[in-house]
């Protein structure tokens, strides 16, 4: 097969190309801001003893620009978010220290020995669990994403915000979570047949409380004690959080301390006045739990620079709260033509899935997009279609196709296309 057969007019190459041949790469995509290398790095590391051991490893000082981007309330520092730098990361696992944060009034400091999980309400046996007790229960692990319902919310704006990909779409992160299936604890308490909902409550400074349908709680929720192999970080809910696979982040209640079984949702502030979506007709969508199919190109993306013509790998992430990613297609001509990207295994349900496709940049302006399809057949919509359907005032649950424009200088910017 000649190379001409593999290359579309937009420069996208067959996704299997890198597997078949040893292609010469262009110089790696350069990060636009240059990081000063620490002065104490020896000129020849083979001629001087290395650094000593450390109790807990840290990233290289040369990677200190790979950080969560914090945007917090100016009056209440603990009310806000920090964004995962998706544009700097690879694979599908988000390092725990870079997992996004959404706190409503800071990260509580909790004594794990004193902490209790109370299960009461419509149960036959109201029970209290210590963390040590929960550690003795059968543990299960699952790899999956947590995505804030408000992720990507700036994309509802009339003009595209110019910042890094992770600071637009990085209220989503992916981890291996390990803990006790919630169904085991519910069965031990003996759920009354009249119960339909759980009210989940946290030990934070807003007393976060959210309602969760019992059917989902029984199906696949985890009382998570561990993230990526280690105990939860404080900002991820230490000592106990709930993981609700595929559903909006706010239900994955951190610092979980109380579960009340009820017949009805509690109608808390964060399930009525927030995390609901006002529609153009004045009605609002409520209990929009599932995070819909979504993808974005993480590299190249704004802040990266293509410093010469030639071959690049377009890399991105796709996920769906409804199931597995079935297909991701990539366009380099603003959606006129599409080519299937390779999905890198493992392709797991309700998890980040990494996709890749080679692209030959000819030096002309281009618009890069990705479009994901999940195994329920749900297709990621264009921005125009999403806005036409939902208006722009809903704030939550933005999942439209993301467009990056490449200039003739190789610079990338965020556009609506």
């Amino acid at each position: 097969m000649s190379e001409g057969d593999e290359t579309s007019a937009s420069g996208l190459l067959d996704r299997r190309l890198f597997l078949r041949r040893g292609l010469r790469w262009s110089a790696a995509i350069a990060a636009a801001p240059s990081i000063a290398i620490a002065a104490d790095i020896p000129s020849d590391p083979t001629r001087t003893p290395g650094q000593p051991f450390s109790n807990y490893g840290q990233p290289s000082p040369q990677e200190k620009a790979t950080i969560r981007w914090i945007s917090a309330n100016r009056a209440v520092a603990g009310n806000g978010v920090s964004w995962t730098p998706l544009h700097d990361l690879e694979g599908i696992i988000t390092p725990s220290g870079l997992h996004f944060e959404r706190h409503h009034n800071g990260v509580p400091q909790i004594d794990a020995e004193a902490h209790r999980l109370s299960v009461h309400g419509l149960v036959q046996r109201p029970l209290s669990f210590t963390i040590e007790a929960l550690k003795r229960y059968p543990q299960r692990s699952r790899i999956g994403f947590v995505e804030c319902g408000g992720n990507s919310n700036s994309s509802w704006n009339l003009e595209p915000l110019q910042t890094r990909a992770g600071y637009l779409h990085g209220l989503a992160s992916n981890s291996e979570w390990t803990g006790v299936p919630l169904s085991i604890v519910l069965d031990e308490a003996g759920v009354d047949p009249a119960a339909r909902w759980l009210v989940l409550e946290a030990s934070d400074a807003i007393g976060m409380n959210m309602s969760l349908p019992l059917a989902k709680a029984r199906k696949d929720c985890l009382l998570a004690l561990y993230q990526n192999g280690e105990r939860l970080r404080p900002e991820q809910g230490y000592p106990l959080r709930l993981i609700v696979p595929g559903w909006e982040g706010v239900l994955n209640v951190k610092w979980l301390s109380r579960i009340e079984l009820t017949t009805e949702p509690v109608m808390s502030r964060n399930e009525t006045s927030r995390y609901t979506e006002l529609q153009p007709d004045g009605r609002a969508r409520q209990f929009t739990f599932v995070m819909d199919v979504k993808s974005l190109i993480t590299s190249p993306s704004p802040g990266h620079l293509l410093n010469e013509k030639g071959l690049y790998e377009i890399r991105g992430l796709a996920w769906s709260g409804r199931g597995k990613i079935k297909r991701v297609e990539v366009s380099a001509d603003a959606g006129k033509t599409w080519k299937p990207a390779a999905l890198q295994g493992p392709v797991l349900p309700m998890s980040f899935t990494r996709f890749r496709i080679p692209w030959r940049w000819d030096g002309a302006a281009a618009t890069l997009q990705s479009r994901a399809v999940d195994d329920t057949g749900a297709v990621q919509p264009t921005r125009a279609a999403l806005v036409a359907k939902r208006g722009r005032a809903g704030y939550f649950h933005y999942n439209a196709i993301v467009s990056w424009q490449v200039s003739e200088d190789g610079e990338l910017s965020h556009v609506y296309a």
Binding site: A133, E188, E264, M267, T272, G282
Partner: protein
């Protein structure tokens, strides 16, 4: 023992057996006193509300002292967002706020009680929480200036947008 009772007992035993098979059964029983000491869920029909009362006029004093720095005078806006709006939920610039958007008055009491003010959450007494809630409902045009709220009257306040929500991924029973 009647047949239905025997069936019920049998099903409970089955559930208990399944629980033992699945986990070590380390939950400690919560007594009625333990449960009474837990935080309460407050429902739209008033279940869970603490007994107490507060007036609109007391609420204005508390609001002016403790809430204006983030929510502005008379709820008209600040770093914590505005609470009261003259706007609508439709049109080019919809403006959801407590008075235009929140479906239940009980939610306002509950969130204020558990989370406000953010610098000292939980510091408002039950009566003070009723008072601040009364003041905000007065600013919403739902209570007179000489009005009083308590655990009986609060759930009877009907918010204008109560029926404005469609459930997407959950069923009403």
């Amino acid at each position: 023992m009647s047949t239905p009772e025997r069936l019920l007992l049998a099903s409970w035993l089955l559930i208990a057996t399944a629980a033992q098979a699945a986990g070590p059964g380390l939950g400690k029983p919560l007594s009625a006193a333990d449960i009474a000491a837990l935080p309460r869920s407050v429902f739209p029909d008033g279940r869970g509300l603490a007994a107490g009362r507060g007036t609109v006029s007391d609420g204005k004093v508390i609001y002016d002292a403790q809430c204006t720095s983030c929510h502005g005078i008379a709820g008209r806006g600040g770093s914590g967002g505005h609470l009261i709006s003259d706007g609508k939920l439709t049109g080019a610039d919809p403006d959801p706020a407590v008075n235009t958007y929140w479906p239940y008055a009980t939610t306002l009491w509950d969130f204020t009680r558990r989370a406000m003010p953010m610098t000292a959450p939980g510091s408002l007494s039950v009566d003070e929480t009723y008072a601040v809630t009364a003041y905000l409902l007065h600013l919403s045009g739902l209570i007179e200036a000489d009005g009083v709220l308590d655990e009986q009257s609060l759930p009877k306040v009907r918010m204008p947008n109560r029926d404005g929500f469609d459930w997407i991924d959950a069923k009403r029973h």
